[in-house]
């Protein structure tokens, strides 16, 4: 009797504190070759989808009907139907696809192929390869400028951000950044481009118009050696005021004042934090922790870690459907 009372009481409490809107996140698990589906209403994994080998880059299609996941060791990108949670198709990328980005219309997909120094362009409707762009050694990070005119690709051994004109598909500028650039992210108003350098241990701030570095975000965590600070994933709020940077084996996410480019706080998350995604209402930020096999939930306004969700082995990428 007591127990039932307590349980129902808890259920009421849970319902009362749960967010008004429920979203669904898809997380790629690099080691277990699965994708975990997280419900942000209950903060639990509702489905685990079997995919190809070594899933990493993951993104919803613009219409929200499918999730694309790069399965690097199978040299392709798989298409998950979000209605059935099944892999229904695959796209012909180049060898070892890792990260990719789509144009605003959801018609073109740009894929970084680590193994042959190219960026591949895929027609999403016809599901065919349209062409390749030669870039530096080990292409990785991909970002499209908000107006869709410039595609950014970072190459990890060449240590550059390549600016590619999407109309001519030619490189128009190359900017040297610190060692092993892994991820690129624009501010919504195009005023800044952020590029994280995993081995260099910095995030470069670029002026997208001038195509030069205007500043750098540096990290300093007392008691932690410099080599352990390895920035990878980047998230910037829509208003362009706050940035979040995943610091890899430092097991922390840095909160950055996106105007002054100074770190204001370090949030302790799980081990080897890789990538992140905001809930569409931007209330929460979910980050993947590669070594501890879980996802940390950060309350964006409180700047606090509020929850940890167990997923598959070595979680890597994460994506939300945009409403």
């Amino acid at each position: 009797m007591w127990r039932r009372c307590l349980l129902s009481g808890m259920a009421v409490w849970l319902a009362a504190t749960s967010p008004a809107l429920a979203f669904v996140a898809y997380v790629s698990n690099e080691k277990s070759n699965t994708v975990s589906v997280i419900d942000t209403d209950k903060w639990i994994v509702t489905h685990t989808i079997k995919v190809g080998q070594r899933p990493r880059g993951i993104e919803f299609t613009k219409n929200g009907k499918f999730v694309l996941v790069a399965v690097g060791d199978d040299d392709k990108i798989e298409v998950i139907d979000t209605a059935t949670h099944q892999v229904v198709d695959s796209l012909p990328s180049g060898p070892d696809p890792e990260l990719f980005t789509q144009d605003a219309a959801g018609k073109l997909l740009y894929v970084a192929n680590e193994n042959d120094n190219t960026v591949t362009i895929i027609d999403l409707e016809k599901r065919v390869r349209l062409g390749d762009i030669q870039v530096g050694v080990e292409p990785e990070g991909m970002a499209l400028s908000p107006d869709g005119k410039i595609l950014i690709n970072t190459s990890e051994t060449t240590n550059m951000a390549h600016f590619i004109d999407t109309a001519t598909r030619e490189i128009v500028a190359n900017v040297l950044v610190d060692a092993r650039p892994r991820y690129a992210e624009f501010k919504r108003d195009s005023s800044e481009l952020w590029v994280s350098s995993e081995i260099g241990g910095t995030v470069s701030i670029l002026d997208p118009a001038k195509r030069t570095i205007t500043g750098k975000i540096e990290f300093n965590i007392p008691g932690l050696r410099r080599e352990a600070i390895q920035p990878v994933g980047i998230g910037i709020t829509k208003d362009g005021k706050t940035g979040f940077i995943a610091l890899g084996p430092a097991n922390r996410v840095a909160v950055v004042d996106a105007t002054t480019h100074k770190v204001t706080k370090y949030l302790l998350v799980g081990q080897r934090v890789w990538h992140m995604a905001f809930t569409p209402d931007e209330k929460y930020l979910l980050v993947t922790n590669g070594v501890s096999n879980d996802v940390s939930v950060i309350d964006v306004s409180a700047q606090k870690v509020i929850k940890t969700i167990q997923v598959g082995e070595l979680p890597w990428g994460i994506t939300f459907a945009q409403p």
Partner: protein, 393 residues
Amino acid sequence: MIRWLIGAIGLSFVASSALAADPIDIRVGYLGQAGIKSKLSLVEQPSENDGIAGARLAIEDNNTTGKFLNQRFFLEEIRLKDGEDVAKAATALADRNGIIIADLPADALLKAADALRDRKTVLLNAGAIDDRLREQDCRANVIHVAPTRSMLADALAQYLVWKQWKRWLLVVGSHEADKLYADALRRAAARFGAKIVQEKVFEDTGGARRTDSGVTLIQRQMPVFTQGAPAYDVLVAADESEVFASYLPYRTWDPRPIAGSAGLVPTSWDAAHDQWGAIQIQNRFVKLNSRRMTARDMQAWTAARMIGEATSRTNSGDPKTVFEFLKKPDFSVAAFKGQRLTLRDWNLQLRQPILLVDGRMVVSVSPQEGFLHQYSELDTLGVDRPETKCKLN
């Protein structure tokens, strides 16, 4: 007319951009020895191009980057034959190349370094692991990319101690290099709290590596050789000369694991290493060279990549500029080891994690967790600043 004018402006614009300017040519020499050291195991037999194959890949990588910076890289190889004058060869190579990657034994490397002392040639040591080259015999014009024996020994010792295999039976070969490795292992045991319960010397009595009679004799010899040892956890073999260590696994009197020159081996690189993006360089290497990548290949790749890093950051191919850049305190290079590699300013040795491999898999990577250091945990491997005997300049 206007169209013509626009065309002309377009032309002059192209002409004034960097791509139309003369490219910067960076010429790198590779000085190695002819002939390869034979290994006991046929599958470990080094290729003729062991080492240089890695440099070739890095030159290709540098050229991919160079396309965007208008830099071109060239590699010239010289192999010394027995008795050939190394100073003369180094000088001749330096006449055409401002930067030289050397894969030479310690004495030859010192001769080359001294012959080039008054030039601005940069020498990168990608082969010799002798500690003395970074200590009493250090040279201000040599950067060491290869790890030292003491770094390798410390990397192994940290793991064995972590594993609680603290009682070692040390078996040492009878050649000079074996003795140097044994010195490094003794030092490592003392530093990290292992105990050498007994030392044995394995005399090299000569003879062929491979015989038609096969392993019959070895199977009788090795158990007897290791019989009667005091209680020990692991047999550590110092056999750089490839005389006996590879015969030890599965043949010791007591059932014990082997480490050092066979069994669990500390190394700067292994074909099985695939962490931290390493799979990408492994794939690139196999594609270019049709074989797998060795430690020597990786050391040469890293040396040539350091050159590429310096030329792209300084936008210069001048050897002096390259050298000054590499010696700066904030220089670092990415080499698929999970963290940045930097130079020790007191002896120009590249700091690096060391892999522990069993021939098929990477078992662990040192420094091990818990071995702390006030500056860099990588400095728990090898001779540290307070102990150094090196005086540059």
